[in-house]
């Protein structure tokens, strides 16, 4: 008597039997040896399902969250970067133009104080945006995502990344508003300064692995 193969026995366990297995089913109904083999398979599968559930050695949430926020920030910055480059370019044009902030206007009217204040702000803004871009590039080159970090570093990095996201959202919002209002310009400058501070802190955390960052 030819007994059923393991493959045939396994097929018989599948839901929705194929018609070609009629012969195998008929054999199984009368063969005690094959029935015993099938029971062994059932028992083995039951034992596999009952195996202990292994647990991860450490908590990974903060590392995942940190990477998620960093990814999101990078995406946002790609878009915001275009806006800030345009802003920086327009600032540079104002500052460097021959008849720029200190020059007179073609119609002979003097430049009012509000314009002069905004121009100083523009110069500062151009500098701070450039600094922000330098730090962003330094972080990109350092590529913290490709490096192992301890839980403490991950916690601090995740917190900084979250704060950066918040600042980026505000920068985006201010980018859509009228730039000629001096108060908005001052707020914009404050936000970019905050952004540079956070990027600096992030660099510190990654480079010194939090332990020495005094945070």
């Amino acid at each position: 008597m030819t007994h059923l193969t393991t493959e045939q026995l396994l097929e018989l366990r599948e839901p929705g039997l194929e018609p070609g297995l009629d012969g195998a089913r008929a054999h199984l109904a009368t063969c005690e040896a094959c029935q015993a083999e099938l029971r062994l398979i059932d028992q083995r599968v039951a034992r596999l399902r009952a195996l202990a559930t292994p647990r991860p050695g450490r908590d990974h949430f903060l590392a995942i969250r940190s990477q998620y926020v960093a990814d999101r920030r990078r995406k946002r910055i790609r878009w915001a970067g275009i806006g800030s480059l345009a802003l920086a370019a327009s600032v540079a044009l104002v500052v460097l133009a021959p008849d720029g902030p200190t020059g007179g206007r073609a119609d002979g009217l003097s430049i009012g104080p509000a314009y002069a204040v905004a121009t100083d702000g523009d110069t500062d803004l151009a500098t701070i945006i450039a600094r922000s871009q330098e730090l962003e590039e330094a972080l990109r080159v350092y590529d913290p995502d490709s490096r192992m970090i301890d839980a403490r570093t991950a916690t601090i990095a995740a917190r900084l990344e979250d704060q950066l996201s918040t600042v980026d959202r505000q920068i985006e919002l201010f980018g859509a508003l009228d730039r000629s209002v001096p108060e908005r310009q001052a707020e914009r400058l404050r936000l970019w300064n905050e952004r540079v501070g956070l990027l600096n802190a992030l660099m510190d955390v990654h480079l010194t692995k939090a332990t020495y960052a005094g945070m």
């Binding site: 396994l10 083999e37 292994p54 991860p56 949430f61 969250r65 998620y68 990814d71 999101r72």
Partner: protein, 178 residues
């Protein structure tokens, strides 16, 4: 293997879609053990399984907008985890070739009289065979689904499973009682 259903899934998911950290953490806490267990059974090392765990949840957080509620949330997360684990296997190309050889029916000398526990026997299978056994017998995937995930044929999945069972039977020293 069934995961525990996430309590308040309906209120939590919109928050996860917005990137809310607390909601993300709740989702992670609800399913991390199941994802890790699946990854650990498929991957050869704990380190690889932990990488798969991270990659899976990163993908879940990024793509949660694509989950439309068709099927269970765990089913959706499990598919991502399985795919990441299989990708890791392909990338690593561990010690064996991915094929089980035809020596299953002819035990090697050191297999004779060998009786190991199920954990050890499972570990000893080739990566592909172990993955097929786990995905089919424990996670409940069909051969069609496994074949798709592995970019192989259905008959490949079936034969891997049969050969793996033959090996497990031998290594576990099981005796059929008629």
């Amino acid at each position: 293997m069934n995961a525990f259903p996430l309590v308040q899934e309906e209120t939590l998911l919109p928050l996860v879609r917005r990137g809310d950290p607390k909601a993300q953490e709740s989702l992670y806490r609800a399913y991390q053990a199941q994802v890790y267990a699946l990854a650990r059974r498929i991957c050869r090392t704990r380190e690889d399984a932990e990488d798969v765990l991270q990659e899976t949840f990163l993908e879940v957080f990024r793509s949660i907008g694509q989950y439309r509620g068709n099927g269970s949330l765990w089913g959706w997360i499990r598919t991502i985890a399985s795919s990441k684990a299989l990708m890791r296997l392909r990338r690593n190309k561990y010690r064996d070739t991915d094929e089980l050889h035809d020596d299953v029916a002819m035990p090697r000398r050191e297999d004779t009289g060998l009786r190991m526990d199920l954990e050890a026997a499972l570990e000893r299978l080739s990566d592909t065979a172990r993955a097929v056994v786990w995905l089919h017998d424990v996670e409940g995937y069909t051969h069609d689904e496994i074949a798709t995930m592995m970019s192989k044929t259905v008959s490949f999945s079936k034969s891997q499973l049969a050969r793996a069972h033959a090996r497990l039977r031998l290594w576990l020293g099981e005796e059929a009682v008629a």
